[in-house]
């Protein structure tokens, strides 16, 4: 009885949504309807980009530190970094975001604004992934480089900073770009905590006008173009680096 009701309700709801777009003659898109809202949506680009950039930079710095923990001889640091990575890779990103945004205020008595909650979550999460990449990059640097630095009497931190890391980063640049692309797309998850990013703005327009395809496709196109530009920038970077070889 109850199930019947639910089914009935569902099909009614679906028909409502589809009916808007499909009508009698199939899918008809009318982007004209969202033209007045385009400036509002475009403002989300800045927020999405700022969000991605800040999270990528913090995540990269923290990931580098974690990767150095992972290769260090100091056991507790290694354990910490491995455990940290397993937690952030082993749970869904959206759950981590929810915990930081909704749950931590309970603990610390301070409501974190959505943007900051997002940056914190994504930095912490991205660091876990990039620390593995960076660790691989460090290990791939020829051990002769390390020995050459050691025989000059160079101290470990300086050797890492001047000799090993620059070579490691060069090797893993493509992987780091992939990480940034993933971050750019995953940033749309902050819409779930109410940050006014590109995704959220698309949803707002959709629910205001009760049209879904047009604003969401428009937002999708912007994401696609941003990812493509990032890929081109990365390819240009790589070409320039290759030339020095």
């Amino acid at each position: 009885m109850v199930l019947d009701f639910v089914n009935c309700f569902n099909s009614f709801f679906l028909a409502q949504i589809l009916g808007q777009a499909i009508g009698q003659t199939g899918l008809v898109l009318d982007f004209g309807k969202i033209v007045p809202n385009i400036p509002f949506i475009l403002q989300g680009i800045g927020i999405t980009l700022a969000f991605t950039l800040v999270s990528a930079l913090i995540g990269f710095a923290w990931g580098t530190i974690l990767s150095i923990f992972k290769i260090s001889n100091i056991r507790p640091l290694k354990w910490f970094a491995d455990f940290y990575t397993s937690i952030f890779r082993g749970t869904p990103l959206i759950l981590q975001l929810a915990i930081i945004y909704f749950s931590t205020p309970q603990l610390i008595g301070y409501a974190i604004p959505p943007f900051q909650a997002g940056v914190i979550t994504f930095s912490l999460n991205s660091a876990a992934y990039s620390s593995e990449t960076i660790r691989g990059g460090i290990l791939a640097v020829d051990k002769g480089q390390r020995e050459a630095a050691m025989t000059l009497g160079v101290a470990y931190p300086l050797m890492m900073w001047d000799i090993i890391l620059p070579q490691a980063f060069k090797n893993i640049l493509p992987a780091l770009v992939n990480e940034s692309i993933a971050l750019l797309k995953d940033s749309s998850l902050v819409s779930t905590v109410g940050a006014l990013d590109l995704m959220r703005r698309g949803q707002i327009v959709a629910s205001e006008k009760f049209i879904y395809f047009e604003p969401l496709i428009f937002v999708g196109l912007i994401y696609y173009l941003m990812v493509m530009s990032l890929t081109w920038v990365a390819q240009g970077f790589e070409r320039r680096m290759r030339r020095s070889d």
């Binding site: 480089q145 050459a148 025989t151 000059l152 101290a155 300086l158 001047d162 620059p166 020095s244």
Partner: protein, 240 residues
């Protein structure tokens, strides 16, 4: 200047060095030769603790460096090392490779270090390559830059680990000439090499390592004409 006492090194169950006791005096040029796997490189790498000895002692200027209490970085600054595969820093120019140690470790002012670096590069015949990246240099040129880099720390001892083994034949001479020049200037040197003619010409002493043991320790004239051990005879028959 360098003295080893009962130096042993094992990698797991493999004993690479067995009770090596010897001494390298100031100004001496010692060539370390012997068959592959005989422990030559490991012995050399134990002298600046790139490999830490399993047992035994290494003394530099009568100071035991294996106690763990010595700042090994300071010891290494005084012992230049040249590797088989050069190990130049690929993201730095020839000059930056040479000046890196003085600037970052000895805190020499950059202007002064650049001057020193240029002097050293011209000493190894590469003044015009100062701004070149290692990828633009030939093997022989790379190795000469690597020698200049080691010399830039103004070490009292130079260690060479098969400096010509990775070079094309026509580039061997240019590197050996630089090392010969250093020998003439009175630098204390330990050289692991397969170049017998070179060893005979520049070394004051030959250490013959075989199966992890110091099988022979003799001046080149004696070693190359009438070696004591059976193994040295066999080895020389094959390589000469």
């Amino acid at each position: 200047m360098i003295r080893t006492e009962f130096l042993c090194k094992s990698f797991g169950k493999l004993d690479v060095l067995k009770d090596i006791s010897t001494e390298i005096k100031k100004g001496e040029v010692v060539a370390i030769i012997g068959p592959s796997g005989g422990g030559k490189s490991t012995f050399l790498r134990c002298l600046n603790l790139l490999e830490f000895p399993t047992r035994g002692r290494v003394y530099i200027d009568n100071i035991d460096i294996t106690t763990g209490k010595i700042d090994i970085k300071k010891v290494r600054q005084n012992m230049g090392m040249v590797f088989q595969h050069f190990n130049l820093f690929p993201h730095k120019t020839a000059l930056e490779n040479v000046t890196y140690g003085p600037i970052k470790v000895k805190k020499t002012p950059k202007v002064e270090a650049d001057q020193l670096g240029k002097d050293l590069l011209s000493k190894v015949g590469l003044a015009e390559k100062a701004e070149a990246y290692p990828s633009r240099l030939s093997g022989g040129q790379k190795q000469r830059v690597a020698i200049a880099r080691a010399l830039a720390m103004q070490p009292e001892i130079m260690l060479f680990d098969e400096p010509t083994s990775a070079l094309d034949p026509e580039m061997v001479k240019e590197v050996l000439d630089v090392i010969k020049g250093l020998a003439r200037s009175g630098m204390t040197m330990a050289i692991v090499t397969h170049e017998m003619g070179f060893a005979r010409e520049v070394a004051n002493r030959i250490l013959f390592l075989e199966g992890g043991r110091l099988a022979e320790d003799a001046p080149p004239d004696i070693f190359f004409t009438k070696p004591n051990s059976e193994r040295a005879c066999q080895f020389l028959e094959k390589v000469l």
